[in-house]
């Protein structure tokens, strides 16, 4: 079968299997075995098959498009080769760009059309390249591990559960039925949504699954629905994400309104036409895949001019011709560029929400209310990385200003989150802030042009952060508490957990031996990815001093990372037990929990290694969007970013410097942690007292929650009260008032009726009665009198006639 038909099919299957599992569990959940425990097998089986299918797909892809050793590898292999040699660069470019362009070009297509209006359509499609496949494998691999892990972790849910954290008014702990199957139901839905997000062929579909992973996250954060904190955290997560999505929608509106398509790549239609995607409109092949403002955006920005052209020319063809010329002129003066920037910022805004970047990072630590496997899968490894993934995917569309914004946001995030992590005592929250911080690194890297480095870190981080979370879950499972001050010395009780977690800590700290003495550097996965990020930052810093501070912040962040990670490990596993009760009850977790730990630890170690035919950096290099390999030198209105090409960061000298700096910072962090928490040479309490204001500031998470509470939540609620009151007090009063006015008028009417009209009517009646009384005297009842009367009347009538006649005659 051809690759172009096989791969979509495989991925479609891999994608839809979890949906099938979800559907099955929804309808048959509690009936699947005792307390629905077979639901776990269903879900795990589904995601396991997905893993298999995606591995198969990756193998097929690599079979057809074997990885070409990238620049990176070459420079390391042949250090003597001058990387700055323009001829080499040219040849590299010529070799890779056309190569990837022709043979490893992404597969695009539509599976299904949701709606279609004229030329506009909303579709469910696919965009498959090496990045997609890599993400697919990563997501399904981690998801499989975590599904297996959940068998152990969620074991309690098979019975009735006593929830000590839910607080009913009676004061007794709440006992509820277990929800084992429900957990796996949500997990399946999440896997489906996440894989859909990864495979998405257009940005609208991304948005669809963006929302779906959001709702899964909502459901899983709020899994312990009895706990107020859990449901509040779930709401917070979803609503904060929606704030980001709002920006994303604005971006979507701009792009769709101008370009008329959502597709990333060009999509062949069934009728033989090819619809141009966003990428090829923003970076057309005629322009060497460099960024230009597409026609649609220019026309949109100059809509009034377009209208007047149409109004001035009789035929449409002429108008289009004129507009074509006009657009070309306008492009020169930069019309519509701001729309492109705005669109990029909008899309990035969605990523900020999903990836918990500053200033929307507040939801992620709270999201730790969910079960730990959820934290590992959704809030560390996959979903929160989706923002980074989308930035990577949408990279060709981002203008330099946007990239700079991304970098700054990432930088701020990584620093802020790292500082907060120092003071956190909840084991999961430390990891959560570490996640935020690492996501900040990724964004930072992407924003500085380190496309491959950022995504590389995404992959490695996914492994070691999932590992860390699962380890922490294991600890929590054993200790029934999240608080690190309650733990200590657990390594003896839980060796598997302790040592795998140490691997994770080392990986996230970027442990490794830098290249020296002619030896290649060597380390855990984090070492490679973090080094390449710092290298890119250093490369930028060395080119433009304006953005030098970014590098220092990032390097400092690396030190803090090492510090708080080892603080965590030491507080938990080293030393002596602080709470003997907790220590006594602690135990190693079952095999279903520590086997996934070992698997993930393995990947946390090797994910960064450069195996010759299968390694992440080369895979990502292969997926690099067209036209982004070159550096950006841009003089804009507000910023003058100069982002060097990423392969510059692989230069030997630069890279060596950076790896030593990274090694130094990590070692510093590690050393401080050792001093404080392992050897206890310094007492953390003393330092805390010294720096009491700073500590308060950090323990309150920079007061972000309070700030948002007063800046947004309260005003919104106030505004809603105002709206409701306006309804009640103004609009309703107006309506009621007009009704009351009518009633008043009616009363007045009534008075007039009673005292004027009725009086007149009654008066006439009375008058008539009086006259009648008077006239009845005539009626004597005397027959004879009547007769006389008749006779007289006749005569009188006669006389009357005569008189009248005469009178008339006289006239």
């Amino acid at each position: 079968m051809e690759l172009a038909t096989l791969l979509p099919l495989l991925l479609l299957l891999a994608w839809l299997l979890p949906l099938a599992s979800f559907t099955l569990i929804v309808f048959a959940g509690p009936r699947l075995g005792r307390a629905g425990h077979k639901a776990g097998y269903v879900a795990t089986g589904a995601i396991g098959i997905s893993l298999f299918l995606s591995l198969l797909a990756l193998a097929c892809w690599l079979w057809h498009h074997p990885l070409t050793p990238s620049h990176h590898a070459e420079t390391h292999a042949a250090a003597s080769d001058d990387p700055a040699d323009p001829t080499h660069e040219r040849s590299e470019h010529e070799q890779s760009a056309p190569h990837t362009g022709s043979t490893a070009s992404p597969l695009t297509g539509d599976w299904y059309t949701l709606a279609e209006f004229g030329s506009l359509r909303l579709t469910i499609g696919y965009y498959i390249d090496a990045l997609t496949l890599g993400m697919f494998v990563m997501v399904s691999l981690i998801a499989t591990c975590i599904h297996v892990y959940s068998f152990g972790y969620m074991h309690e849910e098979l019975e009735d559960v006593t929830d000590p954290l839910a607080s009913p008014s009676s004061g007794k702990p709440l006992v509820r039925a277990g929800r084992f199957h429900r957990f796996f139901q949500y997990m399946s839905l999440f896997c489906f949504s996440m894989l859909g997000l990864v495979v998405a062929g257009n940005v609208a579909m991304v948005f669809v699954f963006w929302e779906l992973v959001g709702i899964c996250s909502y459901l899983l954060i709020g899994f312990y629905i009895e706990r107020k904190s859990a449901s509040t955290a779930a709401n917070k997560a979803f609503i904060v994400n929606r704030v980001g999505d709002f920006g994303m929608i604005v971006g979507l509106m701009i792009l769709f309104g101008a370009l008329g398509t959502f597709s990333f790549g060009d999509v062949a239609q069934s009728d033989g036409t090819v619809r141009k995607g966003i990428f090829s409109q923003v970076r057309p092949a005629e322009n060497e895949h460099q960024l230009i403002v597409p026609d649609g955006l220019i026309r949109m920005a100059a809509a009034s001019q377009m209208n007047s052209i149409y109004a001035s020319v009789p035929s449409n063809e002429e108008a289009e011709e004129l507009i074509g010329r006009r657009v070309a002129e306008l492009r020169k003066v930069g019309t519509g560029y701001w729309l492109l920037v705005l669109a990029g910022l909008g899309i990035f805004c969605g990523c900020v929400g999903k990836s918990a970047q500053f200033p929307l990072h507040v939801w992620l630590p709270d999201a730790m209310e969910g079960p730990t496997p959820v934290s590992a899968l959704i809030h560390a490894a996959t979903m929160v990385a989706a923002g980074v993934y989308l930035v990577g995917r949408f990279y060709p569309v981002f203008a330099p200003e946007v990239l700079l914004t991304i970098a700054c946001v990432g930088c701020i995030t990584l620093f802020v989150a790292a500082t907060i992590a120092i003071t956190a005592t909840d084991i999961k929250r430390v990891l959560a802030y570490s996640t935020v911080s690492q996501l900040g690194y990724m964004m930072f890297s992407l924003g500085l042009g380190g496309w491959a480095a950022g995504l590389f870190h995404l992959f490695t981080h996914a492994f070691f952060k999932a590992l860390l979370f699962l380890c922490s879950g294991s600890v929590i499972h054993a200790c029934h508490t999240n608080e690190m001050p309650e733990m200590g010395g657990l390594r003896k009780k839980m060796p598997w957990t302790a040592w795998t977690m140490l691997v994770g800590c080392l990986a996230i700290s970027g442990a490794g031996i830098p290249a020296m003495l002619g030896m290649k550097g060597f380390g855990l996965s984090g070492y490679y990815s973090k080094d390449s990020i710092l290298a890119q930052a250093f490369s930028v810093a060395s080119q433009s001093q304006t953005y030098g501070w970014l590098f220092y912040v990032a390097a400092g962040g690396a030190a803090i990372t090492a510090f708080y990670m080892f603080r965590l490990w030491f507080m938990t596993f080293a030393g002596s037990p602080r709470n003997q009760h907790v220590y006594d009850h602690a135990h190693e977790s079952p095999a279903s929990m520590y086997v996934p730990l070992v698997i993930l630890a393995f990947f946390a170690v090797v994910a960064g290694w450069k195996l010759p035919s299968l390694n992440l950096p080369d895979l990502l290099e292969q997926a690099r969007p067209l036209g982004t390999a070159e550096g950006i030198s841009f003089a804009g209105e507000i910023a003058h970013p100069e982002l060097p090409a990423e392969h510059r960061s692989h230069e030997e000298t630069l890279h060596r410097t950076v790896s030593w700096i990274a090694f130094g910072t990590a070692l510093t962090g590690f050393a401080i942690a050792v001093l404080f928490y392992l050897l206890r040479i310094f007492n953390p309490e003393t330092v805390r007292k010294w720096l009491a204001p700073l500590h308060a500031f950090l323990i309150h998470k920079w007061f972000f929650d309070e700030l948002y509470e007063y800046a947004f939540v309260k005003p919104t609620l106030l505004l809603s009260q105002v709206a409701a009151a306006f309804d009640r007090l103004v609009i309703d009063r107006l309506a009621d008032g007009s009704a009351r006015f009518c009633v008043t008028v009616a009363r007045l009417d009534d008075v007039i009726d009673r005292y004027v009209v009725d009086w007149a009517a009654n008066g006439i009646g009375r008058l008539t009665y009086r006259i009648g009384l008077w006239l009845r005297q005539v009626q004597t009842g005397q027959l004879r009198q009547y007769v006389v009367m008749i006779a007289v009347s006749t005569v009188a009538l006669f006389l009357l006639i005569v008189v009248c006649r005469n009178l008339m005659l006289f006239q």
Partner: protein, 207 residues
């Protein structure tokens, strides 16, 4: 000069008027009835004279022969001592006389005032009196056939001429109803309760 026609007319007309006046003038109800009979009989004579022989006959038969007998019965049934002649005051007389006189003047002035009614151009040359011939046309007329109008040419006039079948029927039914009603009204009422005195008491206690 007075011709036969006038003579006969006066022969009937004068008694008619005189007896009528006598009816008015008489105080005794029995005498009044007698005078009325005479007056109406004289009117029948006038009918004959005017060529309405059948009507005259009917006048005699129904009125004089029937109605007045009925009247006399009434008189006999009701008249007891004091009410044979109920007197009225002279003021009343004056009032009635004045009113009657005024009415008479009005009527007479109308009667005399119209030229066509007083003049008689073809007094003697009138066709022979076809007494007795009016019965058949009248009968046909009552049955709805107007034999006297057969020669009428003017369609507008003809249209107005129609039979008297329907009025005849109505009148006959009416008569029937009236007679039954009269019988009902005049029947002797049985007292329902023995306690009530058998004597007829006026409904109205007032005198």
């Amino acid at each position: 000069m007075i011709n036969w026609h006038t003579l006969f007319f006066l022969l009937f007309a004068v008694p008619t008027c005189l007896f009528a006046v006598a009816v008015v003038a008489s105080a005794n109800v029995v005498r009044m009835a007698m005078c009325l009979i005479a007056s109406l009989a004289a009117v029948a004579g006038l009918y004959f004279l005017a060529g309405a022989d059948f009507v005259g006959a009917m006048q005699l038969m129904i009125y004089v022969g029937g109605t007045l007998v009925l009247l006399v019965f009434g008189v006999m049934l009701t008249v007891q001592g004091p009410s044979v002649s109920l007197k009225i005051s002279s003021a009343n007389w004056l009032m009635a006389g004045l009113a009657g006189g005024a009415l008479l003047i009005v009527l007479l002035s109308a009667v005399v005032g119209i030229e066509a009614w007083t003049s008689k151009a073809v007094a003697e040359t009138a066709p022979a009196v076809e007494a007795g011939h009016t019965v058949a046309p009248l009968g046909m007329g009552l049955l709805g056939i107007r034999v006297d109008q057969l020669s009428q040419q003017d369609p507008t006039l003809r249209r107005g001429m129609s039979g008297y079948l329907l009025p005849f029927e109505i009148v006959s039914v009416h008569l029937l109803v009236v007679l039954i009603g009269a019988a009902h009204l005049a029947r002797a009422k049985r007292r329902r309760t023995a306690s009530t005195p058998a004597t007829t008491a006026p409904l109205n206690p007032e005198p």
